[in-house]
């Protein structure tokens, strides 16, 4: 959310400087992404404070943390009058708890007033024209997205909110034809869809320069349904963000009322209005214990302090007894559900940074078996002592490895990702040593003439098996590096038994036909040491002999 500084100062009689506010925001409320002389951008990614997606919500929060007064009152004066109704049919009130539609006539579409344009621009929204800008300004001020349809294009001026039929299509405002699914919530007239609810309007009902009468929509839709449609079509917008975070009926009516007033200022006339659904927000009540609050924060606050902090944030408190309050949650705080949520409110108003450190209470629990972690650490120490350098590589097989080792012909042997970032991250590695061939190559190109590296990390096999292996690669400039690598491995004292079986047909594809020695541990084959077949090395452009080893660490950890 980009918060226009000028606009904020019109809503709050700020007691401190803007600079002080910018310093305070991350300590009391939320981190900032970018601050300029025009706006303060709040870091809302994944955040649950729906109320901070509106200038009014931000103003309330800012007033609370800076001890400032609001210029505007929070009281909503509904003055929509006694008007004829429009035909609106809501198919499912779970998917659409509230749907409001206002008909406004006598409008003239044109460029917006510079003051509006500045507000929009500061908040990172482009100006379109007077009619569209009103809906965007109200979205920014109240957090309630709105949409205006050209009334002339809506058959019988009748709106039906329903799920799409199989095979239905809609050209959205961006000019793209969308194939709809039966899970997509639609705004339709009796003959056709005119918009994707909460996602994007239809091209067929777009406001044009000739538009004089609009149907203004303000509604609340099921966030999950919208999220599903939005992510399938790859459509996210300022509006969809707000729908998904959650909206309140009170703010919706405030926004609708204010929008109508703005259209009236532009010469429009409200001639019909429909409100379908319940218009009152549920006020949640949550119990709060002072003892629990102090215990969880680790400080000692008085009941008066707790009450004062919460009241600044517009919570209302009733004393239940000496220790407990019944806290009425303001309608706009959708994120508050449980006692711990309230404790967080108290803690941040007090100031997280003032909480002192206290030593760990209680006794350390009894020791559990940590052998497997120790084994890997010891092994790494031994390898480093033997002169090897530890590397870490990605858990994937690169495309070079897939083709040079012929994995592209056996993809079923590898764990595959459903949504790889690129072809380089499509398959998980099945062994450790092949990635080390790339490490050898990379460092030879940098001029290294002696390379001794190892890695201990996980390898994977279908369907979802994973285990640690030790992989080693040695390029020592000699024509028989296996000998030295064998001696290094012997020095690790892993209690391995040598198994003098021959290289099998599969291994012959990438190992020296004679220079391979396999290892057993307690009767089971766990790995081996071998020279890599030069045919493979030639594909990487490695002109020297390379020995590798790999040990499955499952029996050891």
């Amino acid at each position: 959310m980009k918060v226009s500084t000028d606009w904020l100062l019109q809503l709050v009689d700020l007691k401190c400087s803007v600079e002080e506010l910018v310093e305070l925001l991350p300590l009391r409320t939320i981190g900032t992404k970018e601050v300029t002389d025009r706006f303060i951008e709040l870091d809302m990614k994944g955040y649950n404070r729906a109320d901070l997606l509106s200038m009014r919500g931000v103003a309330l929060e800012v007033a609370a943390i800076t001890d400032s007064q609001l210029y505007t009152s929070e009281v909503y004066a509904q003055n929509l009058g006694d008007l004829p109704k429009l035909k609106v049919e809501v198919e499912d009130d779970q998917l659409t708890p509230l749907y409001c539609l206002a008909k406004i006539e006598g409008l003239k579409v044109g460029p917006s007033d510079p003051e509006w344009v500045t507000k929009l621009t500061d908040c990172g929204v482009r100006t379109v024209n007077t009619v569209a800008d009103v809906t965007n300004l109200m979205m920014l001020e109240y957090g309630q997205p709105m949409h205006a349809f050209d009334a002339q294009t809506v058959t019988d001026e009748t709106i039906i909110v329903r799920l799409a039929h199989q095979g239905e299509e809609l050209e959205t405002l961006d000019g793209k034809k969308r194939h709809l699914e039966p899970t997509d919530l639609l705004i339709a007239d009796p003959s056709k869809p005119v918009g994707l609810a909460g996602v994007m309007g239809g091209k067929n009902s777009e406001i044009t320069d000739q538009t004089t009468t609009i149907l203004l929509e303000a509604a609340i839709f099921d966030p999950k349904a919208l999220r599903k449609t939005g992510s399938r079509l790859g459509l996210t917008s300022e509006a969809s963000k707000r729908f998904q975070h959650g909206l309140t009926k009170t703010r919706l009516l405030q926004a609708l009322d204010a929008a109508i007033k703005m259209y009236q200022q532009l010469g429009g006339k409200l001639t019909a209005l429909s409100i379908v659904g319940d218009t009152t927000d549920e006020i949640k009540k949550v119990e709060l214990s002072l003892t629990k609050t102090n215990n969880l924060i680790g400080v000692t606050l008085s009941p008066e302090q707790v009450q004062q902090y919460l009241e600044k944030l517009h919570f209302e408190l009733e004393h239940l007894d000496q220790d407990r309050f019944l806290v009425h949650v303001p309608y706009f705080r959708l994120d508050i559900e449980i006692e711990e949520d309230l404790i967080e409110e108290v803690a941040r108003m007090y100031g997280y940074e003032k909480i002192p450190a206290k030593e760990l209470p209680g006794q350390a629990p009894a020791a559990i078996d940590q052998k497997k972690f120790g084994v890997i650490t010891d092994l790494k120490h031994k390898l480093v002592k033997a002169g090897l350098t530890e590397v870490q590589t990605y858990p994937y097989f690169s495309t070079a490895i897939l083709t040079n080792f012929g994995w592209d012909k056996h993809p079923e042997a590898l764990v595959k990702l459903a949504n790889p970032i690129s072809a380089e991250t499509e398959y998980l590695r099945q062994n450790g040593w092949q990635n080390l061939i790339e490490v050898v190559d990379k460092n030879m190109r940098q001029g290294y003439e002696d390379i001794a590296v190892f890695e201990i990390n996980k390898v994977y096999s279908p369907p979802a098996e994973e285990h640690y292996t030790l992989a080693v690669a040695l390029m020592n400039g000699s024509d028989n590096p296996v000998a030295e690598l064998y001696q290094i491995l012997r020095g690790l004292n892993l209690d391995l038994t040598e198994n003098k079986r021959a290289v099998n047909d599969f291994e012959a594809g990438f190992l020296h036909p004679n220079r391979a020695l396999f290892y057993d541990y307690k009767g089971k084959q766990v790995g081996g040491v071998a020279e890599v077949h030069p045919r493979i090395l030639d594909k990487f452009g490695i002109g020297k002999r390379v020995a590798i080893a790999e040990i499955d660490l499952r029996p050891f950890v």
């Binding site: 981190g31 994944g46 711990e340 650490t377 595959k416 290294y448 001794a452 000998a483």
Partner: protein, 346 residues
Amino acid sequence: MEEKIAQIEKEYLSKIAEASTLEALDGLFLALLGRSGVITALPAGFRDLEAEELKRVGPAFNQTKKVLEKAIEERRQQVREAIYAKLADETLDLEAPIKERKGHMHPLTLFEQEIVKLFSKIGFQQFAAPQIDTDYYNFEVLNIPQGHPARDLWDTLYIDDKNPKPENGKLLMRTHTSNAQVRIMEEHKAPVRMMVLDRCFRYENLDARHEHTFDQFELVYVDRGLSMATLQYLSEYFLKSVLGEDTEVRMRPKYYPFVEPGVGIDGTCIFCKGSGCKVCGGLGWLELGGAGMIHPQVLKNGGIDPEEYQGIAWGPGLERILMLKHGIQDLRLFRNGDLKFLEQFR
């Protein structure tokens, strides 16, 4: 000119056929196509040719170049195959001395060993959770149901699962070590002091500041009487030890669905010690980790009574702290096997 080209082709084709080592072929390649190779030098003479002649010479030149390149490559392959065939005569000889080398531990391992030592001292023990995990342990039990806007915080890599088990949700590459939280509570009775150090994975395009593979460290601490003040103690204990006794540590509100209250951990900038500089963007503070009091629902999901016990989940960004400490500019250096980089650490 055409004759000259034909002459070169004939002469070198026979030389290539006679070459029996890769080195000889490399030499021939240079003699033909190197900076002053005979083929490379030819076009300089084309300028003096008549247009008519040029029409014939151009194609002939290209043809010859191609023929010679192909001949070298084919001969190279033949020589290689001859070398490969000789491998059958080589035997497994395992006698050799071990060279003197200076080994190096990976900087992440060094840091992780330091951390394990530090937290073992105050009773924390290591715990391992799978890297390929279910949606259930990675998201559901942590208050991040399907369709929750907070899922945007984790760009997730999913496994192409042939036989999905719907009760656990999709298989995925774990996005954080927090997939261990509920497993720890299921496997060990409270109180617990555990630490998880391992790889995590995200759908992230690589650049100097973004990695799709990274290490996380997380403490999971469940006991009676834990508070945000305990959490502050853990942050100070860690950051003062790792970044120096003069480091100041503060908490900030931060949202994670599986903790409540949620905490961001800041340390004073290690470069300017809090006065404000380029690295910390003039703030004097660096964001170094995330933490919080484990959400009562997550404790319940792990079979722990939140009325009796509190939990702390706490984790700094490992690579970030290492980069700050050692002035490392590029995150990718940790995993590209570059020995020049790795040899700086001991």
